[in-house]
Subunit: 340 residues, 4 copies
């Protein structure tokens, strides 16, 4: 990974410093770029909330060879991780590789690792076009996330995405409120439950599933259940839309308390290594999404970089499962969390 | 804003560093100047108390185009913000522009932005003279704040202020205790309720309103109601009079709990962007006052600078309202605050 | 004060950096010297515990000219402050002035300021000799503090101190445990209540009073009452004897809760300015002792330096009383403390 | 000690900086080396958890000459400290001295100080061979700790260790989960209670005792009692196996609450000086183990270095006992802990 990081540091110059600890401090306010919006409090809160969690170490058991496999949104995953939907290589990551190379690396690397990737959306058409091409090349093994556009754009995007053969569709409703997009005549906005119900009904009619990204409160998690979503992603959009949102790990337990068992719960935000994955699961997630570290691995090492990152992650997760006495991901619950 | 800040940084050299994050650390003890008194704990507490507040992000709703307008002290404001009363450009800000230019920029810029400015007072006559001239030029659209002088000076100042045609008068009683002024033979002091009652009665007799700045406890907020004030400003005077006062955001909820609905509640201290405005409203304020950032904008860009700052602020506030599901400022309450 | 500090910084080179904020970080472990023992946690805790305290600012009252005077241990003080007993100029402060000059500056400066100084003790005879000479010169206006020696040394020291004409005697029992002294054949040790009773009885027989320095728990404060002490000093000896003791401001409220009204309560540790004095009083002290800042003022400006420091302190205290609505020191209680 | 540290700093270059405060920040992730795994959160938590503990200073008593002696695991110790089992001088400490020199220094230095040392284990045979040779040379005065190997290796190691004449055997089960070892074909793993019972039965059959290192929860402490262990070591393996484990001082009180009196409780992690020893005892330990500081002393000064470190430690512990009023180690309990 060290070489990949060095390569990425070079290629992302001016966009990402590939810090030793990726915590949002070096890139405050860099949107576009890889940073958090404003004071980057939401980005930092993601990392800080996870860092605060401490784990019960246990060694008197027989969880010698844990199984990290799981099933989420109908997919059997080698371990409970997905790549988060990210696009805009040119203006966010420095453009050292093309949008196509990026999408191929993330989608292909995830599949090779026994996982699945979300793919991104944006104003310039080449973002979703590169993303959908990668999913199609991968026989539909990817989850297109569509921004909460107003008007016809959303329906058109869902149709385009459908052509990739994918079985799950997502919407990152947390992208709403980007006033710049509205000013560019491409408005995005929050979505009322009724509108979401209709969209989800249509997608279910296609025999596909729907995941709603950007849930940060128990009441909206409950709404997501009511409108028929198959999964939510607890996410503050990497701290890039609302300054001073809590870290996702802070809100996850109350959200899990409200909807666990009724809907698949994913979470992203600040996850860097396998111990972080285990923490999110212990806090109530069924699986996690990972953003920036996957982007860095893709820019620094293309598909091979993504695969290496995921391999490292899996090893760390298994070690953490051994050291917390977790035979399977189902055993990763509040029992592994230290509290005073 | 970047150019304005660069210009200001140059012009305020030795008085204000125009830091990326204006939090009171670089200018500890710089009074006169732009800093906090002593260890600057009160200044820092203002910023820290606001930074600690986290917001519930919500996207499943139809608050797509929120209305940030409000009415405070009889004024219809485009959004719930006023410029705080500040004077003394020469000894506090380096004197790069004149007191007149400063007052015109703040009063004019606020009016152009659909807002209203408080204007300051001080020992040298040119401070209030420049301020009152600006208000008069603005057809009385400004709020003169008079220091809590002892003896005749206070009455004389109120009469002078009246001549501007203003409809609201203020007193920053938090300026009391400045022993230096007393030693210069120009004593200021706390004001007993009976004395305040008489002042306010007189002002009400003029058909005008009265706002009392410097309330930091629920008991004194209650006293402000009893003496007939129309509004209070929760404020520790920017941390410039008593070291180790709490941040205004810390005391605001209990003050709002005591007098909300009985009196208009304003608050200042550490507000930097639109998310901070929303936080103060959620904590119980009806509107906020903003000090240092307005001063920096005025010094760096005159009226245009102030207008640009307020335009940015309004955009940020609207975005924050969208992302917290707030249709109007009345919807910005404890519901948008994250708590564990 | 600025000149005095510059002079002191020069003269104390290698012993004290006369930091802008004197908080124990620059001089970690420097004993001898001016630092805290070991990791200096106790020194830092003193400062941090005081810094954490926040004050209610109040301005709607008539406490325009507060009276900071008080009576402690039978002495009428202009304001509730004493100089803490410190000695060993040569090995703790760099020896830029002599022990005699130091003692004269502190004792004389305190008296001139309407206060009284404690004076120190140590292994080399010149420490207590210089101290007692200063008290004698001051017509007995000083409080000799004697270390908790084992054997005859303690009685001899009390007799010597008596010859100064002083009316109050102290013991800094917190100096016990200095194993180095024991190894030099000059053992100090904790004192059992029975032994203290006898000492205090003797001193009361002389028509004098006794103050016990080094109380950090309510149970030992209660013991101090039982053995007949007239006052205690809540103190961790400036963090110089036991690493990781709490700050005195942390333990003061529970100690005051146990013995307030039964005995005079003094406190030292981390007090730097008049606001800190007010805080200690609000937390339960009847008066405070101040160590390092007085030493720095004495080394940097002799008696004049000490007087200037105390004058500044008094002004700050009065301003803080005005801004918290405290007419007298009796009004400085929990009412002025902010709590969430 | 200063010279020893300077020597060590030189010899451990690239492996340990011999920082003034050894807290895990300079060597983040350096495994092999002397650092903590990953973000080193577990290493840092050890130090931070101890630093947070504050002590009640008491001086009104007769604990003038405390006795720090104790009996643990059948050994009479001059004070309640053991050297932690550490090996791998070449890859962890820079190889400035040989494994034999290191083991001799630690085992011999501990014995000379009236203490006893644990000795380490590892993949290369020379680690345990050097360790066992040192114990044998010391007439069995040492505690061999064997890693939780799978298969025959464990039994063989216990037999080899038996040949040293030692009376106590240990297992650092916290070394499990080191996937690298497994990949090298030398798997270690957690141990189920049944397996431990058999091992302990065998060792008891030899007339020896057994200590289980790596307990971090009350439930596993209870299991340790049930399988017949004679002692546990509360330890997160110096933060080298699971990132984000709590500090041992954080978990110790609840573990002591569960098994105190049923089994000897040792603890390691972040102990640097005599005050830290006293803290661990106050939190519930019967004795402590010390790792890194002993290693540094051994590399920097061989047996003499270890002896000097322990002499310093003993002096600090006695002073802390004096200043907390503790006659014996049995008096060091929650009574000496400050809590708000």
């Amino acid at each position: 990974m060290k070489e990949i990081h060095e390569k990425a540091r070079e290629m992302m110059k001016g966009y990402c410093r590939v810090c030793k600890v990726c915590d949002g401090r070096a890139c405050v306010g860099e949107v576009p770029g890889m940073g958090g919006l404003g004071t980057a409090a939401s980005f930092k809160n993601n990392v800080a909330a996870l860092a605060k969690v401490k784990l019960n170490m246990r060694l008197l058991h027989d969880a010698v060879s844990p199984n990290p496999g799981t099933t989420v949104l109908g997919y059997d995953l080698d371990f409970p991780v997905m790549a988060a939907p990210i696009g805009g290589v040119s203006f966010n990551m420095g453009g050292g590789i093309s949008e196509e190379e990026y999408a191929d690396a993330v989608v292909g690397g995830s599949k090779a690792a026994g996982l699945i990737a979300g793919v991104g959306d944006g104003v310039p058409p080449f973002i979703h076009e590169a993303a959908y091409a990668a999913v199609e090349k991968s026989d539909g093994h990817g989850i297109p996330f569509i921004k909460p556009w107003e008007g016809d754009e959303m329906d058109e995007k869902f149709e385009k995405a459908r052509a990739t053969g994918c079985k799950v569709f997502g919407m990152d409703v947390d992208a709403a409120g980007l006033i710049t997009l509205r000013q560019m005549g491409r408005p995005v906005s929050p979505k009322a439950p009724e509108e979401l119900s209709k969209i989800i009904e249509k997608i279910h009619g296609w025999g596909a599933k729907f995941v709603l990204k950007g849930i940060m409160t128990p009441d909206e998690a409950q709404l997501a259940v009511e409108v028929g979503a198959d999964a939510i992603v607890v996410s503050n959009h990497g701290g890039r839309v609302l300054d001073h949102a809590p870290g996702s790990a802070e809100v996850l337990p109350s959200i899990a308390g409200a909807v666990s068992g009724k809907i698949d719960i994913l979470a992203d935000g600040g996850i860097r290594d396998g111990v972080d994955v285990l923490k999110m699961l212990a806090l109530g997630a069924d699986a996690v999404m990972i953003g920036r570290p996957v982007s860095v691995a893709a820019v620094g090492g293309l598909q091979e970089g993504v695969e290496k990152y995921f391999a490292t992650l899996k090893g760390q997760l298994i070690q953490a499962m051994v050291l917390t006495g977790s035979h399977t991901v189902k055993d990763i619950n509040a029992h592994v969390l230290f509290s005073v």
